[in-house]
Amino acid sequence: MPEEIKLMKGNEAIAYAAIRYGADGYFGYPITPQSEIMETLMDEMPWETTGMVVLQAESEVAAINMVYGGAACGKAVMTSSSSPGISLKLEGISYMAGAELPGLIVNVMRGGPGLGTIQPSQADYFQTVKGGGHGDYRLITLAPASVQEMADHVALAFDLSFKYRNPAMILSDGVIGQMMEKVKLPEQRARRTEDQVRQEQTWATLGKPDNRKPNIITSLELDSSVMEKNNQRFQAKYKLIEENEVIYEEINCEDAEYLIVAFGSAARISQKVVDLARAEGIKVGLFRPVTLWPFPSKRLNTYKDKVKGILTMELNAGQMIEDVKLAVECNVPVEHYGRLGGIVPSPTEVFEAFKSTFIK
């Protein structure tokens, strides 16, 4: 067994991956089912090794604003929470999008609305990919389906958020956060030095040298004609992200007569559903969006003449189904199956639902 393969929870993988990415800071406030992220960071004490700051803020609102502040200085900073806590952070996330600040937000979703339950859910899909906070903004959204991806998506999210100067979210849930699997952690990277940050993040507010005007980080612009230009710049950037950063996985899709579209933990359950269906001779494939925004619409569109039906399986009342319907331009019957409020369906339950929907 290679030494570097470890067994850990998805939440722990996020913490270790953040340290190894060379993140500069984590600011959070505990909430189930993601508290192991900050617990692990506190246990590891990275401030004594890489110099990464780990701080328990007085509230979720404080934590996201600390991220805003760190990001304004060009630092790789992050926060994490679960659904009710993310609702509190949305104002800050919208401000980050408006001020074009990079940063990582992790949401380990639980059942809502309100304080809800602590059990797994995917009911924050709309909140994450359709805005959530106010204004015309987009959040780069990654949906890990394994502990390994929890680790891998930390670097991916940070890199994308710096590449486009836009906040990025890892949208996970209680299943992926709490389960243990094998994981190979990335190599330890050095934190960016002050000089590197000055060179790479020329927009950062790190103190003004004599040879340039002051950098200003703000989302406020009272002149609407300028604010419209800002918005047009954001939209151009979002279009670029949609063109270049789509990620998806296809399992048994080549000869599929039916597709299940699912992300995160629902995709894992659906993978078993594909096995159950194939064992009965029904050709089902799994299409798994890894980026929820940008959504893999173009690729999904190619199935509109190939399959007889699509089932979206989500731990919610039917949210991603809207994007799937748009992607196939309603040329294929698209149906939804899901459980609500923290209930996780079993593979056989989903398979029965699939059969009663499409195989009559």
Binding site: M1, L7, V175, Q178, M180, E181, R268, Q271, T348
Partner: protein
């Protein structure tokens, strides 16, 4: 080959850690593993359970509703999980406090009086290892040395002196498990 296992009992019986040790043992044998706990507030004093999957291939769903092996350590867990064992599968239960023993005829049922042995033989702290020993006897899904290596890896070094008493408990479990 894939083994799908549910372990269920009262919170505090070591259900989650037994699952973890099994998962670590799988890791030692280079298997694909998943460990998914019930993490609700019911864990304290209520029922706790964990799904462990050991496989030669990538594990698909970590959440299951039928199992090859169910290990149940109290009546509520027996009531809940007896019917989730696949036909031909294995059910292991601790006889302590069981008023309605399992009735199915299409599965192999084993009884292990680990609770009783743990209290009479001074092994209260290694109760879950007695049960694990029983499992390894009736279904050697991982080797004893892998369990010990996994235990060593999952325990902090200051607790390594406890390894022999854990091994003793596993071996005791192998001796006392019997077919119902």
């Amino acid at each position: 080959m894939q083994h799908e296992i549910i372990i269920a009992g009262f919170g505090g019986q070591g259900v989650l850690s037994m699952g973890k040790i099994l998962a670590y043992a799988g890791l030692m044998e280079d298997k694909e593993v998943s460990w998914f706990p019930s993490y609700g507030p019911e864990q304290r004093g209520g029922t706790a359970n964990v799904t462990v999957i050991l496989s030669d291939q990538r594990v698909s769903s970590p959440v299951l509703n039928e199992f090859d092996i169910a290990i149940v350590l109290n009546q509520p867990s027996l009531d809940k999980f007896e019917n989730t064992v696949k036909p031909g599968g294995i059910l292991i239960y601790d006889g302590n406090g069981i008023n309605n023993p399992p009735k199915r005829k299409d599965i192999e049922i084993y009884q292990i009086d680990a609770m009783n042995i743990a209290s009479t033989e001074g092994m209260a702290k290694t109760f879950n290892m007695i049960v694990l020993g029983g499992l390894l006897k009736v279904s050697p899904i991982v080797k004893l040395e892998s369990v010990m290596a996994g235990l060593k890896k999952s325990l902090p070094e200051r607790h390594h002196k406890l390894l022999p008493m854990n091994e003793k408990a596993i071996i005791r479990g192998m001796e006392i498990i019997h077919k119902q």
